[in-house]
């Protein structure tokens, strides 16, 4: 499906970015607030930010915590979700707990976690892991409960035990659905990462943002926001490639090409 040049995703993306920039620029000059600089001012601030070792270190630390928290989420949430999707009793036992935690803003736990585990990385990683876990768990459970039951029978007839079936039949069969949860998890990880750093202000991108804010360096604030936005888009893009590769066997792999 080859369309005209202006239908290409990259071109559309660029046009949208230019449009947002134009609106932003117009609003900023019309309003004239010092806390609403033009996009060019924010862009001019970018090189300072990206050449500042302290700022880069802050970004690296944030990303590091995000990945560790995300990995913890994967390791715990997916097996629990799969078990919930396959076993009535596991589901009934854990469901009340999960439905309590799901809608709770995870950042609200930060003060308690800080009290327990201090201001260091652990409490932030913990809260990120919680934030990413619930969409992963929910979609793993959904995926596991919807798989073709006869796949499990076929594996049973080969002599495969229950734990092996969970990881070698239920997990791959539910993978397309699990990865939807994991993709939501990427976004959650970013949100919780920044908000945890705004609450426990010691280091990281969130801290960078608020420090610039305190010092009324509004162009830097917007530059940090730009960096965060680009990080989000980049992570999601990478994730989508990985997802498509992992589910290339699936019937729905073709339909789900979002971009």
């Amino acid at each position: 499906m080859k369309g005209a040049w202006y239908e290409r995703p990259a071109v559309v993306m660029l046009m949208v970015v230019v449009l947002i920039g134009a609106v932003w620029s117009a609003l900023s000059s019309a309003l004239g607030f010092s806390s609403f600089p033009s996009p060019l001012a924010a862009l001019r601030e970018l090189p300072h930010l990206l050449l500042d070792p302290a700022a880069l270190w802050a970004i690296a630390q944030s990303l590091g915590r995000m990945f560790v928290g995300y990995a913890w989420g994967l390791v715990f949430a997916i097996p629990i979700g799969l078990a919930m999707g396959r076993s009535r009793s596991v589901h009934d036992f854990l469901f009340p707990l999960v439905s309590l935690i799901y809608p709770m803003p995870k950042a609200a736990l930060m003060p308690i976690l800080m009290l327990w585990f201090g201001l260091g990385s652990f409490s932030k990683i913990f809260v990120i892991a919680m934030g990413v876990s619930l969409p992963m768990l929910y979609h793993s459970c959904l995926g596991a409960s919807r798989i073709e039951g006869k796949l499990v029978w076929a594996a049973q007839a080969m002599g495969m035990g229950p734990v092996a079936r969970l990881f070698r039949v239920v997990l791959p069969a539910a993978l397309p659905e699990i990865l939807i949860g994991c993709r939501v998890g990427v976004v959650m990880a970013l949100i919780v990462m920044v908000s945890s750093e705004m609450i426990a202000r010691q280091e990281g991108v969130g801290n960078l943002l608020f420090t610039s804010m305190d010092m009324a360096q509004y162009s830097s604030v917007y530059a940090v926001i730009l960096v965060l936005a680009v990080m989000g888009v980049a992570l999601d893009w990478v994730f989508e490639r990985v997802r498509r590769h992992l589910t290339r066997w699936s019937e729905s792999a073709v339909e789900r090409k979002l971009y």
Partner: protein
């Protein structure tokens, strides 16, 4: 040898009432026999097969396979489902080698043996395709190869050709028959098609409606190897068809 003794199955429905799917079925299948279970839809014939497979538990009575009571699924009883149930994330080769890998056969050996099975079901050129890339008939060939590969003594086939078009169905019936004539497994074959049952089987067990129970067992005394074109002309074959059709109509009226 499969011995089914006074088997019964009662389900609890969502509304809390109980529904009897199968009542008092007794049946013996000697080793190496091809037995079809024929009945109208909803007579519990698939349920019976699933219980022999160990996928569902009996409510009363018991099933013995070579003298041992069936409690769980096991590699001595290989299922083939109407829905194929191939592992979609594995290639055809990966699917067929899966059971062997599960039994601890090394990868290269498992794949070599899987390849020989794929040759037998004429899928050698499709070894590296994913199931979704195959037609229904090819998927069912792959599923049959996957089950045969781990060499179950007993094949449990649940309307395996039910979802296929008429032509593919005839081709696969003939292929199954010639494979079975070489392998001589015990086969329990669920179908609602009279001519399929007569063409393939040594014996046909006719079940009546709800709850399902044995109405009649008919021995199909036709010489093998069977060729469908010749059978169609034989009066013995026609007699069997007529007899079984009458039994089916009667059992439908019964239901």
């Amino acid at each position: 040898m499969i011995q089914i003794e006074q088997l019964g199955k009662t389900f609890q429905t969502a509304r809390g009432t109980s529904h009897t799917a199968i009542r008092d079925i007794s049946l013996e299948v000697p080793a190496g026999q091809f037995v079809s279970i024929l009945g109208p839809s909803g007579c519990g014939k698939s349920t019976l097969l699933y219980m022999v497979g160990g996928f569902e538990q009996a409510s009363s009575g018991r099933i013995l396979v070579n003298g041992r009571e069936v409690r769980d699924p096991g590699p001595d009883r290989g299922p083939v489902f109407q829905e194929y149930a191939l592992f979609p994330w594995k290639t055809v080769l990966g699917n067929v080698a899966y059971g062997l890998r599960e039994q601890g056969v090394a990868r290269s050996e498992a794949e070599a043996r899987a390849m020989r099975w794929l040759e037998k079901v004429k899928l050698k050129d499709y070894a590296h395709f994913y199931p979704r890339e195959l037609s229904g008939g090819m998927r069912q060939r792959a599923a049959i190869a996957r089950t045969l590969a781990y060499e179950p003594k007993i094949l449990l086939m649940d309307e395996p050709f039910g979802a296929l078009d008429a032509h593919t169905r005839l081709t696969l019936q003939a292929e199954l028959l010639s494979l079975w004539e070489q392998l001589q497994n015990t086969v329990l074959f669920v179908t609602h098609s009279v001519d399929e049952a007569v063409y393939l089987s040594d014996r046909v067990v006719v079940l009546t409606g709800t709850p399902g129970t044995v109405r009649e067992i008919v021995d199909i005394d036709l010489p093998r190897p069977r060729v469908r074109a010749d059978l169609l002309r034989s009066s013995a074959y026609q007699e069997y068809i007529i007899q079984l059709e009458k039994l089916l109509v009667a059992s439908e009226a019964h239901a």
